[in-house]
Each structure stands twice: as C-alpha cells, then as structure tokens.
Subunit: 356 residues, 2 copies
C-alpha cells in the first residue's frame, strides 16, 4: 500500500478505512483526527486549560503529545497508585516525558497523602482492585482539575477501551453506566469538571503507532493488578471479530453513540439530581459519604491491619484548609464549612511553557 498523503510506501495501515500512511505523514493524520474530534464533539476550546490524566502508557502520553503539538495548553496529572515496581516505572515515564517536552506534571501520592495504596483495595470476591482503582483515579483527576482551575480533564481512552467498556456494560446491562458512556461527560455541578476522550475513535494500534513514530517512551507492561481482568477478555473477543470484519469495533461504538445511547436515560452527563457535598471531603456525591471516602477508609483500615505505614493521612485528617495545590475555592463546601481535607498535589518546581 501507498501513503494516502504522499504516495510513498506506507508504514501504518488503517484497515477499517482502507487507507495507509508513511511514518512521516502518519502523525499529522493522527493529530488531525484528534483535532476533528475535539471540534466536532465540542470537547474544549483553544483558550481552555486542559488537564491530561497520564498513566505512563502509550495512549495518555500520545494524547498529551498530540494536544501539545496542536497548540493546546495541556498539563498532566499522574496518580501514584503504589502498585510496586509498575507504578515506579510508569511514574518515571511520565516525569521524563514532562521534562523532555517542558510540560507541567501534577502528581498525587496515594500512600503519602491518603494513607493507602491501590493493592489495599482488592475486592474480596474478584481479588482485583480495578473497579476501586477507577473510582480513585476519577476522584483525584476531578479534584485536581477543580482545585487548580482546569476547564476539562482529558483521558487517553481509545476505541478499544471504549468498545470493551461498552461491551462489558451491555453484557451486564448496566443501563445507568451505558447512559453516561460517551466521549464527553458534561459537568452538571461546579465541583465536577467535564471529562473528554479525544482518542475515542482511534484504535489501540493507531495510538501505539503514533507513540512509536513520535518516539514517545512509554511503559509497555500492563498493570499487574489487571491480569485476567474481564476488560481484557472483552478486548480479545472484539479483536477476533475485528480480524474477521474490519471496522466492527468502530461501528459498534459509534453506532451505540449515534443510535443506542439516545434511548437511554441520562445520556452524556454526570448525575446531577440529588448531588450534595460529602461530609468528609466536600466533593459532590449522592450519598452522605462519597464512594471515594468509603474506599479510602477501607484502604486505610486494610493498611493498618497489615502493619504498613500510613503516616500522612492520619496526621492530616483534622486539617480543614485546601491542600498546597489548590488553585481556586473548594468546590461546594459542605455544612461543616471546610470542605474537608484534600489530597496534596505534588507540584513540579516551576511551570515552563509548553513546547508547542
């Protein structure tokens, strides 16, 4: 095949579209796809400050790279989850990427600031902390963005991720989740920052190709906690279908967004009804104590029982003021007047301007 742009021999094939690109033209095409989605789905505007949630993997770093190259003001946030060597290596990848490109990376350290790590959140039945880890990450991404005044949180979810999530939600008919699955999750509360997924129509192979061609140094290993996760089984199934019918994943996801989702309740928005402030942390929640605070409590108890150190959180729990990284007023403070303690944000020493 020949490059769709310059007719040179092609290096990357986009099977579902029956086009291909050489390594020189591919990144431009990839970024044009990202730009097209940002514009078409009204994810954010030129002047918005974007917080990119990075994990050290190819997708989130490719997204951060592409947004920066497209001229957006995009900073990163990394959560130190405390998953042993995997977490250390992925943290290094994020720090190195930020340093190389002169970008700002915020960090939240669960162990130091919250008194637990993700392995403390293992589910009793499945033995996996994946669902809890998702809650923890979403909580901190949102909180850091709200505290530091970002207009939007961007995550690196790609087509494969989204199709697998959709499939999982369909297999279990989580109608509530289905209604909220989409590339843009609008804010329905001042404390909930809107979330966007600019890569949601680009496949895993396509973000990998972008990362490789742009020489992004990312972590190749999968999270060791996710081994045997259902989402990986769903991905494998969808990949086998994709082999037989290129375009299946794309049609499945985009068909859902265009046809299926409209029929479901609460499409495309965080729940707005009945939101109040968590009595512990002040974040918006539908319960008295938010899901994150309940998880964190469980994690700290687990950690205390297992005899590991949980030094910081316990000494911080009485503190009412905003953490060192808070850039604007606490969102929706509760009746206790303080909004509760907030996770520390480890700030980089200085904030250089994006490399363009």
């Amino acid at each position: 095949m020949r490059c769709h742009t310059c007719a040179a021999p092609a290096n990357v094939e986009i099977r579902r579209s029956r086009i291909a690109f050489c390594a020189r033209c591919y990144p431009t095409w990839f970024r044009s796809r990202v730009q097209e989605r940002i514009d078409h789905d009204r994810m954010f505007r030129r002047e918005d400050r974007v917080l990119v949630a990075v994990s050290g993997g190819k997708d989130s770093l490719a997204l951060w790279h592409a947004l920066t190259r497209l001229g957006y003001r995009a900073d990163g946030v990394y959560i130190r989850l405390g998953i042993g060597g995997y977490s250390r290596r992925s943290q290094e990848k994020c720090e190195r990427f930020a340093e190389q490109h002169g970008l700002t990376l915020h960090q939240v350290d669960l162990e130091e600031n919250e008194g637990f790590v993700v392995p403390d959140l293992r589910d009793a039945r499945s033995g996996k902390p994946c669902a809890a880890c998702g809650t923890v990450k979403r909580y901190h991404f949102n909180r850091v963005a709200a505290d530091l005044g970002y207009e939007v949180v961007a995550t690196g979810h790609n087509l494969d991720d989204e199709a697998a999530t959709l499939f999982g939600n369909l297999v279990h008919w989580n109608v509530d989740y289905l209604g909220r699955q989409g590339p843009v999750l609008e804010s329905t509360h001042p404390g909930l920052v809107r979330k966007v997924k600019p890569l949601y129509r680009l496949g895993e192979r396509e973000t990998a190709a972008y990362a490789i061609i742009e020489r992004i140094d990312y972590i190749l290993e999968e999270c060791p906690m996710a081994r045997g996760a259902k989402s990986l089984a769903y991905k494998a199934m969808l990949n086998s279908l994709e082999e037989q019918q290129p375009g299946t994943k794309y049609g499945f996801l985009v068909g859902f967004l265009k046809q299926g989702r409209a029929a479901l309740p609460g499409a495309g928005a965080d729940r707005a009804a009945g939101l109040r402030s968590c009595v512990r942390c002040g974040q918006p929640t539908t319960a008295e104590v938010c899901a994150y605070c309940r998880l964190a409590e469980r994690g700290r108890r687990k950690r205390a029982r297992s005899g590991s150190a949980a030094p910081d959180r316990l000494s911080r729990s009485g503190r009412a003021g905003p953490g060192p990284g808070a850039g604007r007023d606490a969102p929706h403070p509760g009746p206790d007047g303080g909004g509760g303690p907030r996770p520390a944000v480890v700030e980089p020493p200085a904030r250089p301007s994006p490399s363009g």
Copy 2:
C-alpha cells in the same frame, strides 16, 4: 455432583445455576422450565393450537417433543428449502419424528410450490442466503399458521441463538431489530400470527441433553450454507466468555429483555403502523410488494437463468384462491379482492391425536 431432584449421581450440569440432574430427572426439569416460560411470558394457553416450526435439528424437535409431553396441541411445519442432501436428511428426521409420535407435520416445498430454492437466494456480497432464508421461513411459518388457524407459531430458538442474535444486533446497532427481539412477538394484524420462543432461556447444551436423553433422532450437521456465518462467530465468542463467567449469556439476554429493551422503540411487537396487503400474495407488508415476494421473484429469475426447472410456480401465478391447506379466510385481503396465490401445504394423510 448429585442430582438436584433425587440425589443420584448427576449426568447433566447446569453451570450457571450450579445445579445438576441425573438422566432420569433431567427431562422433567427441562419441561418444567419450558412450562414456566410459557406461563410466565403468557406465550399461549392450554386450549391454543400451536404450530411448531421444525428444522430437523435438536432445538425444534426438543421443543415439539416437550410441548407434546406437556399436553399441548402442537403440530409441526417443515419448509423444504432445497439445500441438497442437508435438506433431504433434515426432512427425513422431521417426518420420522412426527410418525413415531403420531403427530401432524405440514410441509411447504419451495421448489415445487414457489419455483426456487434457498441456494438461489445467495447474497451477491456475502455469498450467503442466510438472511433471505430467514425471511422465507418466517413468511411460510406465518402463512401456514394463519391459513390453518393456529393461534401461535413456536420456534426452537435457544439461549445461544438469542444471545448471538442480540450480540449481532448490538454490534451493528440495529435499533429496529433490537426493539422487536424477544420471546414473544405479539400479533399486530389479523394476518400476523404471534410468535413465541419457549426455549429462549435454555442453552444449546441443555436442549441437546434433552434430545439425547429423550432419544430424539435429530440432524447433527449444521446447514452447509451457514458455514462462516457471523452468528457462528458470535456464538463462539459468547461461549468463550461463558467459560470464564458461567451465566454470562443468560445475564446478557435476560438483562437486555428486562432493562435494555424497554428503552427501545416498538418493543415486543411486529410493526403495526402502515401495514397493507402485498399486491402479489396478500400478506401484510409495509411495501407494495412484500419482502418475500421480491425475494421469491429474484430466486425464480436466478433459477430460470441457471436453467433449473421451476415448473410449478409459473403455472400457479395467476391463481387467486387459497391453497389446499387454507383453514380460515385469507388474512386481510387486498383491494384486488383475492389475497393472491398462496403456497401449497403438503398435508399429512391423517391427523392423529398427540401422543401425550
């Protein structure tokens, strides 16, 4: 494992329910499941005459057998599709089953009565006639039932079939089909007989076990035209998930019926709006000429070009009266007053009472 009923060593395990049965108790459990679905989903009543669509395979013969044993007045209908040796062998299985159990089997012979066979309906793109074959079968099942005064058509679709169909409709987001997928398709027109699927919560392995234990002689081979069909790929995928998480197929289908389908338009009914009579055959349709008549026309043309004999239909095309099997007035006759020609029904010599 031990039999759930009598504690003897078990022969058949129902993994998703974590129960098992010995070969002696299993058929009773199987039929109780069928009865429970008939009652719970109000499929038909004791006094209704049921037409079972049989193919010679395990599911439809198991259904016919179970309904008869449960005391229902259930006759069979078999469509001679003209798929070479496969069709001949499956016809033999149906005829032998009817004979052994003293049951009435109606037959429609496509080649003789309609002037084409299913292989004439191969799709130009996929090379497969499966979609067209489905239309042909549904048409004749409905027509025979309407003509002969049956209250309901019962098909042998099992959990695996239904889950695979659901999956296929979700992958392509056929919202219209999704809304109408269910165990009961109500009649919305006098010419459309209600359709039910009493086995829809029983897995393929469970109907196979029933057929084997009850010594039902069924055709083992898959239809040769279906080789490589997408539905088989979907079944394989769902089976691999089921291996990992027993109950996945059941949860997927039943979750859809309980949660997902309600959100979709036209749930559980044949389209009622804008139905009129096909100008050729008189059957209810939304178009001037119904989908079946267009398919049949295409099949006859194909057959004429290939030089095969299509003796009967051409000489029958001017006939306006009902065929030899018509048991009640033609459904919803069109403005031409006749309702058009109807497919012949090959009647069995006599109608013995069910074996009970």
